[in-house]
Amino acid sequence: MKTLGEILLEENSFSEIVMGNTALVRAMIESHTRVVTSYPGSPTPEIAEAIKSIPKEKRPFYFEFSTNEKVATEVAYGAAVNGHLSTVFFKSVGLNVASDTFIQLSLMNIIGGMIVVLGDDPGANSSQNEQDNRHYACLSYTPVFEPVSPNEVYTFYKEAAKLSIEMGMPIILRLTTHVCHAKEKVKFQNWEPKKLDETPRFDVKNGPYIPIAADVFPMKRFSLQRLEKMKAYADMSPLNRVVDHGNKNIGIITMGLPFLSLMDVLEKTKEKPNILKLGVVYPIPLKVIKAFLETHEEVKIIEELDNFVEKEIKLMAYDSRLSTRIIGKTDIEDWIGEYTPDKVYEVLKKTWPDLLPARKGLGDNIFEVPNRPAQMCPGCGHRSAFHAIKKAIKDTDITVADIGCHTLGFLPPYQVGELMMCMGASTAIASGLSLFNDTRKVIAFLGDSTFFHAGLPGIINALFNKHNLTLILMENGTTAMTGHQDHAASGKNFNEPTDIIPLSRTLEGLGVKHIYETDTYQQSNLTEIVKEAVGINEFSVVIAKHPCMLKFIREQRRKPSYKPRKVDIDQQKCQRFYDCIEKFACPTFTRTDDQRVKINRDLCIGDGSCLQTCQVKAITPSQIE
């Protein structure tokens, strides 16, 4: 077995089956990228996993998980104006956090080159929306390259890196969920390791680097001039291509994963429209598009999410007085969801119904299956927390969730966390909910990674403006939902051990007067503490902590001395109150046909946090043979 790390550092050219996220890392290595930063978020964490597979001493670039996406962008920018090719990557909504810095990037002469890799999420597979981040490109005059497959992720990054260094400008590489996670054989070129030139090359003469008031205009002009150059590049770029089916009548302009969906749809048709597939989606290659429009009578634009490219194409067609019929989005549904092969079939069918053969669905030949929402894991400390907290608060109280595993508390049977917005928003939303409100207590929740990411300003505001609410910090020691990345209170960063920044002392330092702390497995203690905290008419914080048990049990299983543990139900003692299965609701508890409760031994980790939920002590620990 060759490790991923060994594969990634292969110096000769080779082929390997890899995920888009992994292909990206090889492209970074071949391009001699020197600094890479990120904050974890789906669909991008596997980029960091690939980086981690290379031992630190052999890693050809510096990598860090920064505190949030804005910080990550700043670190990458700082390195790049010192002459190092840098890359920052994060999920779609991460760009909202990074935007204040990101928007400024294109004003700067970034001498080392800088690539912003976005993991956008059409279909909202694991995000709070499916925002179309191409709008940010327009807002900031930043070019966007959009690959469709692991092979293109690899070649597009290399092209972007080359251009970014040449022009000193930031370039966005926009990936989407199923481009990040697609796997296929990729042919990689050779890699010649180079010694890092460590000279800090920052020089104000390369600038200006201070955009302020009237000094902004020359910088803006510089930025727009570069964008003009990129327009010329777009028309020449090898990243755009035409699939010529010899069709003089109809054509399609598309980009990204919808291109592959379209190719699959067209496998079903007799007549095949020609396709112009854009690799550079901002600024769009106007000459290439114009030539394509001129040679077809009708052109359909198949564009996932918003009509970003469609508007620009129609504008150009109007100015050029083209008579080609251009068909963009036709109804609201065209704006929604991922452009899977099924979706592209539907979209195309609305435009050219005769082109596509009918597909027969299953009709009513479907047997309904109960939904399976994501769950907190067996042994999860958050489950104990919600079970205990529910006993301490009233139904009329308002609970505000944040982003993280604890968000899942909104599901039955807990239904704790009735609103959620984005990273770190809970405390300040709760502050607003507490205004003119003496009757309904407001309780906010926040994870520990999110506390550092964007949670602190809301907490400081609650103190500064004397808001009356209780914040419950759900501390599990890691960034759990995205795959257990360390954070500032974990005791180590991506590369080495580091001092813990303790939550409680941080809060003390800020001047929080009422701080409580308990392990969530001490459920009755937590119930009492929350009752007390909620009773105070001032800002109070409860730190409800327990290590992430998924991480813990995975680490335990790797040890040779590991002995699996389970719990059992003593059927003699069980009085069928169903507190374990209906209120505590660990997925381990299973209902039999005769309404007994049984343990699913495949799932149970024997943590025992459920023992205290049984009034008659019918749940017992059992040692495995």
Partner: protein
């Protein structure tokens, strides 16, 4: 070759990722053109996990059209039925591990669970070849995926992919004791 689509499904934590990677690399070692894509992130926490594999020369997206999968591989009963609803073509093949991880609404007693009998009934109706697998003496539930793999090989469910290809794939992905026990289980169950 003509395209062949495989839809793998189960519950987060059942080991779909490894099984999918073995099928992917096994197909590759068999000289087939192959693409795949897995679910990552949020859903992995006890939710439905899906992995899609597409074999063939005229395959573009890693995503399979609805009800155009030739084979559904499921690690759990509810997901087997959901998988054939969503992905399997009429007349296709379902292989599933006959275990139940009850979904939330079943545990809360709001709906009835799915049984093997319901799956069989639906398979008959849609002329689906049904292969149900359960190994009574399996000590480590983490190896249910390898038991399924062994049966995929035993019934030659993926055209052109053979025992040696699966073993080579396992050797790419595992090492040491873990490789040994998995190969041992695979060899034992495929007969």
């Amino acid at each position: 070759m003509k395209g062949f689509n495989i839809y793998l499904t189960g519950v987060g934590g059942q080991g779909i990722g490894l099984l999918s990677e073995i099928l992917l690399r096994g197909s590759y070692h068999a000289g087939l053109k192959v693409k795949s894509v897995d679910t990552h992130g949020l859903a992995q926490r006890g939710g439905v996990v899906v992995s899609q594999l597409r074999l063939g020369d005229r395959v573009h997206s890693p995503l399979i059209f609805q009800n155009e999968a030739d084979l559904v591989v499921a690690l759990e009963c509810h997901e087997a039925l959901r998988g054939i609803n969503r992905a399997l073509k009429d007349g296709g093949t379902l292989i599933y591990y006959n275990t139940i991880w009850q979904p939330l609404e079943v545990r809360l007693n709001l709906v009835k669970p799915i049984s093997g009998a319901m799956i069989s009934k639906q398979c008959q109706k849609r002329k689906i070849r049904e292969i149900s697998i359960f190994k009574t003496d399996l000590k480590d539930p983490h190896m249910q995926n390898i038991v399924l793999l062994a049966n995929i090989d035993k019934y030659s469910l993926i055209p052109g992919v053979k025992k040696e290809h699966y073993i080579k794939a396992m050797e790419d992905l595992l090492q040491g004791r873990l490789l040994e026990v998995n190969i041992e289980m695979f060899e034992k169950e495929r007969i």
